[in-house]
Symmetry: C2
Subunit: 202 residues, 2 copies
């Protein structure tokens, strides 16, 4: 092979090599980052955010989490004095749901959001019943073995009334006690959440 041929060929190959070093990792890492962003959203880290005082910041985006069930305990079935006179639409953060599907356990960091929805009407084209009306606030439960080491099951409970953007945990007696006594599984009322029952590994 002549030098006059070898050098242009080598130049092209070296150029390709150098460009590859520059672009291949950058482009690939960009795609990896996008992919990992998705992974992180779906499979890792808790959705719970706390301020410096330990108050839970109001969860966001939960309407695109995994809906697990929505009982209704209306006033007119409780002599006008229902403790929770609304639909309770309960959502679980997707990362913890993915973990639950694998292990059947509520992982550390699990967030359950309970969105309260007023009864809007009791009669529709489909018959008599209870039909969702307007949103009336949210509550949340967070499992955290470090932050809530002293709470039974490591679960703490929070309520966000209208306009509230953070909340202190309720005292143990306010919510945890009843969840501990009556919930089917790890302080969670899975007996009313068919999506969780179906997702649990057999």
């Amino acid at each position: 092979m002549k030098k006059s041929v070898v050098f242009p060929v080598m130049a092209v190959l070296v150029l390709f090599f150098v460009l590859s070093i520059g672009t291949y990792p950058a482009f690939t890492l960009d795609l990896l980052a996008m992919h990992e962003g998705h992974e992180m959203m779906m499979h890792g880290g808790s959705e719970a955010r706390f301020d410096d005082s330990g108050a839970l910041m109001k969860p966001e985006g939960y309407r695109q989490w995994v809906f697990v069930g929505g009982p209704v305990t209306p006033n007119d079935m409780n002599e006008g004095k229902a403790a929770f006179p609304e639909f309770h639409d309960v959502y679980m953060d997707p990362g913890s749901f993915a973990e639950y599907k694998k292990t059947g356990k509520f992982r550390d960091g699990t967030v359950l959001v309970k969105e309260l929805v007023n009864v809007g009407s009791k009669k529709a084209a489909s018959g008599n019943g209870y039909f969702p009306g307007d949103f009336a606030g949210i509550a949340a439960a967070v499992k955290d073995s470090k932050r809530f080491a002293k709470e039974p099951g490591n679960w703490a409970y929070f309520s966000f009334s209208a306009g509230k953007d953070k909340a202190e945990a309720f005292p143990t007696s306010a919510c945890n006690a009843c969840h501990q006594a009556k919930a089917a599984e790890d302080w969670v009322f899975t007996q009313y959440y068919p999506v969780l029952r179906a997702a649990k590994p057999k």
Copy 2:
């Protein structure tokens, strides 16, 4: 440069070049495919799949779609003869939901899945009410201006009883007529779906 140096160097570069052709696109395309799979799931394309005869294949993964509302019309509020004696947990495919948030319209290809959930109990620690029991089947509505050009609103309706993996569209009179007459918005009962009302641009 001596030939004895040039050839090994070139050999290495050529090897790198050849390997690059083999691996770079494959690896990158794999990442692209993962990313595009996510994009397709989230932002583009309909979730509706039809067989050659035009039957809708049973939707999958809908429990991780966007829950929009869950009315209940139990038998005991309808003299034992409820047309739909269950909870109706309604989910919308995420791509169409994202579009709805932007435009306030149900895009072509929108899929709504209605999962039927039996009433499991009427009394719980939280009071009297209706509590979800077990799954009892799903129904679906699909908007498609080409495939359902003759259906009012271009909506067709399908029901999947237990074990059914595909379904023919109902005749227009069976579902579409009532949706056309009673649903608040484009054949959809948004009056009972607070998540859609809240997502609609003002």
